[in-house]
């Protein structure tokens, strides 16, 4: 196993660990906000690790860039969707009078 491969394995495993944590959080946490908290944070970091790990295996720099771009786009999507979910939950809980964060 070369150095790169080892690094990949480590990175991907860490990423997987974050995902696992996030998923456990999703299942176990009581409220929407805390679930959201677990998901967004843990999964985004996890995805980042996995993307990095895979980028190391890429044939060319271009491909590595693409993989990182995937992470970037996913980050943006996660941000917005988490925001929307949180906002909806807030309103559903009767908090619509409050100014949005």
């Amino acid at each position: 196993m070369t150095l790169l491969e080892t690094l990949t394995v480590i990175l991907v495993s860490v990423g997987g660990l974050f995902f696992l944590t996030g998923t456990i959080g999703l299942l176990r946490f009581p409220s929407s906000f805390s679930r959201l908290h677990a998901l967004t944070k843990a999964d985004n970091v996890g995805l980042g690790f996995i993307a990095c790990g895979l980028a190391l295996q890429a044939e060319s720099v271009w491909v590595a860039m693409k993989i990182l771009l995937v992470w970037g786009v996913a980050l943006i999507a996660a941000t917005v969707s988490a925001h929307l979910i949180a906002r909806f939950t807030l309103r559903a809980a009767g908090g619509s009078r409050r100014t949005p964060p």
């Binding site: 786009v73 943006i76 999507a77 941000t79 917005v80 925001h83 929307l84 906002r87 949005p100």
Partner: protein
């Protein structure tokens, strides 16, 4: 060994999801799990060396279908409680029996056919053999746009017809479509506008890339069209587009343009090439790209309109 484990996991996931989809108590769960099911199918296609399908499934099967299902689910919620829903009339054991029978039949026969000695001469081998003169390098694109282009033409007609059909049974605009476009535009979460500003050009770019790359690698008009349609869905959901009851001239032209162009090139083939839908020699690549471009729009627009449940769309002036 890992491959087998992965396949087994995939299969288990597919079966479990399918079971939940048809038998879960909560309808919402079924709908959401169907989207997940679509994503797993996409992975399965990838596993089975069908990357074109994986792309299409993710974009169309899971994406667009999911959006359609969710919006329909919402409509079904609106008058909740009027219909308690009767119990199944069929005895459950009989259903299990029939299902087991069908499953065994399909699985068994599928297994038998897969296990047969593969025929020497297949359409697929022919296609690969003729790939060089098809004008493109991706064999699936070659089959879709050259060898069996009538199927592709007809299926775009299918989409168009689905749009026409939906117009027949669609309700008044007041009931149509997901969400209320006005409210979304008036009181919008702050993050939406930046997201769209970023996503929209990216999506168009991605669609263009998919379209162009379909010639030599996975992708093509369907995938590109589906991605564009996803953008349309997004714009519609966020109130950037508002529904109109009838399509405008430009929309009508885009709806039929793909088929008309394809047919025109196809019919011209009877004169300048050997047969209808044949491309003149040397022009295959250019014409296929042209047709695919037109088809992309002809695929994206009806999908968005079907999601919107309206005859047309107009830019919302804010």
């Amino acid at each position: 060994m890992t491959e087998w484990a992965f396949d087994a996991l995939l299969a288990g996931g597919l079966l479990g999801l399918a079971w939940q989809i048809v038998a879960s108590r909560v309808l919402f769960r079924s709908v959401v799990l169907f989207i997940v099911f679509g994503l797993l199918m996409a992975v399965t296609w990838a596993r089975l060396h069908a990357p074109d399908l994986a792309l299409a499934e993710a974009a169309i099967g899971a994406g667009i279908t999911g959006a359609l299902l969710l919006s329909a689910y919402r409509a079904f919620l609106s008058r909740r409680g009027t219909d308690p829903g009767p119990p199944p009339v069929f005895p459950r054991w009989a259903a299990v029996g029939v299902a087991a029978l069908v499953g065994a039949l399909v699985g068994g026969i599928g297994w038998v056919v897969v296990g047969l000695e593969p025929p020497e001469q297949t359409a697929g081998r022919e296609a690969l053999a003729h790939l060089a003169i098809s004008g493109v390098e991706n064999p699936v694109t070659a089959v879709l746009l050259n060898f069996r282009s009538i199927d592709t033409l007809s299926e775009v007609v299918v989409l168009f017809v689905a749009f026409l059909a939906a117009r027949v049974v669609a309700q008044d605009l007041a009931h149509a479509g997901p969400g209320d476009w006005l409210r979304a535009s008036r009181n919008e979460p702050v993050l939406v506008q930046p997201l769209i500003a970023f996503i929209a050009p990216m999506t168009v770019l991605a669609a263009g890339y998919l379209l162009w790359s379909g010639e030599h690698q996975p992708g093509g008009a369907f995938q590109a069209g589906a991605v564009l349609a996803a953008l349309g869905v997004l714009l519609r959901l966020t109130g950037r587009l508002r529904p109109t009851s009838e399509p405008s001239l430009a929309e009508r032209l885009s709806l039929v343009g793909g088929v008309v162009l394809f047919s025109a090139i196809g019919l011209a083939g009877a004169g300048v090439a050997s047969a209808v839908l044949a491309y003149p020699e040397g022009w295959e690549y250019e014409l296929i790209l042209l047709v695919e471009t037109a088809l992309t729009i002809a695929i994206a627009l009806p999908l968005v309109l079907l999601f919107s449940g309206s005859g047309g769309l107009r830019r919302e002036v804010r």
